[in-house]
Amino acid sequence: MSELRENPVNEYLRLDRLPSIWCPGCGIGTTVNCFTRALTESKLDLDKVAIVSGIGCTGRVAGYMNLDSFHTTHGRAIPFATGLKLANPDLKVVVYSGDGDLSAIGGNHLVHAARRNADLLVVCVNNFTYGMTGGQVTPTTPISAVASTTPYGAYEETFNLPNLMDACGAVYVARWTAFHVRQIAKSMGEGLKKKGFRFIEIIAPCPTLYLRRNKLGDGLDEMKYYKEKSVVKNGADTREVGLDYHDKIVVGKFVDRERPTLEEAMDKRFTDVLGAKYVPYTSPGKQPLA
């Protein structure tokens, strides 16, 4: 008989906060599994990994992770994380939030953090809707999809998030669906290793609001659809990866390049201009335990 083992995700979770608030068939938890596998692979000191979320269903990820975790305000995870990282450069800072939080209310921060190459890994779980508030239209809701605030179907052009992030200068851009668990874990691992603004979009099912309202079945049906309709195109031109309603989904790693991070650019500029007068920022030391 074998010895009893622990679920390998357990050490990464606040078990006393489970079960999660997520609905049956929601894909967010699946992405969390992948994140924990990536953390294991990365061999990072978990005490030095901080996770920052905004508001919404995916915004709850921070609260379930047994890391220094920050559940901030709606849309503002990225500037919080930028301040955290600038003030404590020893940290590996991960932003984990949803499509509405990051690309609608937080859209301004998203594009500017990518532009300035803030040293953040941003995981965007895109379920095409605001789940927490009852299924309203987001900047990623495909045209014709029904949401509670587009009862006759959405009619606005959507954000192609990988293309947006590519255009803004993100150094790493990938998209997967919640079906691509191994690829997500690998991408997150690459993202954890890399410096600069890294963006991973994960298409995930929202069975209760997006799927039900659009008569697309349950979470499992959506996962099967991802399996059937996803096309892996690593290195694809991000202009070509826009999403249409219930159509094919181009997934893969689209961008992987190097660019000085915000901190590096800052340091270089001040060193060049101020020379010996430049006093670089030092990370606040670990407090002594009494």
Binding site: K48, T73, P79, G83, L86, A87, N88
Partner: protein
């Protein structure tokens, strides 16, 4: 502990209020600032942007005030002392994160250089119309500390004190300048670093596992702090939370959290509140004023005294918490309070509430754009003592 000498510009300077705030922040040990340009406050962050790379600090201009006002909170949890600075519409945009700072008990400083409003209002001209917003501007119930300098020297002194109070009580502190104080240039004396008292962050000595981020020790109302990266694996949320910081959305947790957060300000009010009294002995009227208006009121009082009025002065240095006891005591001794302010009646409401009919309260209101004519204040004083 004493200030870090690297940052302290010891000596006599000719500085405006905005720049003096920057020096106060640096002396206090602030090494992170986030900002977004807005008149008439921009000079504070401009000076920090110039000074920080020479003293080991980091300034980041963000895309808007929403970002700046939460980046400073991230920086605090990263272990830095942090400040952001704004004015007018920017202060409105920052309200959500003043609320987040309050509920997460984040020691941080916001500086607001008040200009005429509402909305874009008078970007280059003074007002004192944000006093109630400083107290109540974010939704929900919370208490914070607000300080009102009336000179460039006090901009230095009170910005320094704002940082110290923020650490002492784990609370956001707002420094409420007005455009005139922000832009007036006067002598500012910065003491040697070893004569500047700086309150360090109250980091816990407990080990991870024994520590709760929102549990105050026996006999204290203020929990100890940690920073990210030290192994405490804290959870910080804007949701109502329990002592561990876990979301706890129920009546009991809400009651406990809100009441302790109130109590740490209310029960320590005597230690927080500062004010300046002058000529109160035998006064029949007392002018209650703050910021630039207190300096105009000096002239008004002088004019009134020349006409025989017995008038004293009570200057608010701490606007919030409000010096309730002192106003109540004075209200038993005088005929009237005269309250000049560059708004349509904010602090005068507080004075009137506390006077509770024991004496009259005569607001001297001005919609802003400039300062009062001292003669108007003098007339109000003369009416008060009649």
């Amino acid at each position: 502990m004493n200030a870090d000498p690297i940052g302290v510009l010891t000596g006599s300077h000719y500085l405006d209020g905005d720049h003096s705030c920057s020096e106060g922040a640096i002396a206090a040990g602030c090494r992170f600032s986030a900002g977004y340009p807005i008149t008439p406050s921009t000079e504070v962050v401009e000076r920090l942007a110039s000074r920080f790379p020479r003293v080991g600090g980091r300034f980041q201009q963000f895309e808007d005030e929403l970002a700046a006002s939460i980046a400073v909170l991230g920086a605090v949890w990263g272990g830095a002392k942090a400040v952001t600075v704004t004015s007018g519409p920017g202060f409105s945009l920052m309200m959500e994160h003043i609320g987040l700072a309050a509920i997460t008990e984040c020691p941080v400083v916001y500086i607001n250089v008040q200009r005429g409003g509402p909305s874009t209002g008078l970007p280059t001209q003074p007002a004192q119309g944000d006093m109630m917003q400083a107290r109540f501007g974010s939704h929900g119930d919370y208490r914070l500390i607000a300080l009102c300098p009336n000179s460039p020297q006090e901009c230095f002194d009170l910005t320094l004190r704002a940082f110290n109070l923020a650490e002492e009580y784990r609370v956001p502190v707002v420094v409420m300048l007005d455009e005139v104080v922000g832009h007036m240039t006067e002598k500012v004396v910065i003491p040697p670093a070893d004569q500047i008292e700086v309150t360090p962050r109250r980091y816990t000595s407990k080990k991870p596992g024994d520590f709760k981020l929102f549990e105050a020790a026996e006999g204290s109302l203020v929990p100890e702090m940690v920073k990210a990266g030290d192994g405490y694996r804290v959870h910080v949320t804007g949701l109502t939370h329990d002592e561990r910081g876990y979301p706890a959305m129920n009546v009991v947790a809400q009651d406990k959290m809100v009441k302790r957060q109130f109590a740490k300000i209310v029960e320590n009010a005597d230690k927080i509140i500062t004010f300046e009294e002058k000529n109160l002995l035998g006064a029949e009227a007392v002018v209650v004023s703050f910021g630039i208006t207190s300096r105009i009121a000096e002239k008004g009082m002088q004019l009134a005294r020349e006409k025989g009025a017995k008038v004293g002065s009570f200057r608010l240095i701490t606007a919030w918490p409000f010096p309730e006891k002192q106003i109540i005591e004075l209200s038993k001794k005088v005929k009237a309070f005269v309250v000049p302010e560059l708004n349509m009646g904010q602090m005068s409401l507080e004075v009137e509430r506390l006077a509770a009919g024991r004496c009259r309260t005569i607001p001297v209101l001005h919609a802003g754009g400039t300062v009062h004519n001292p003669e108007v204040i003098a007339e109000a004083i003369l009416e008060a003592v009649r």
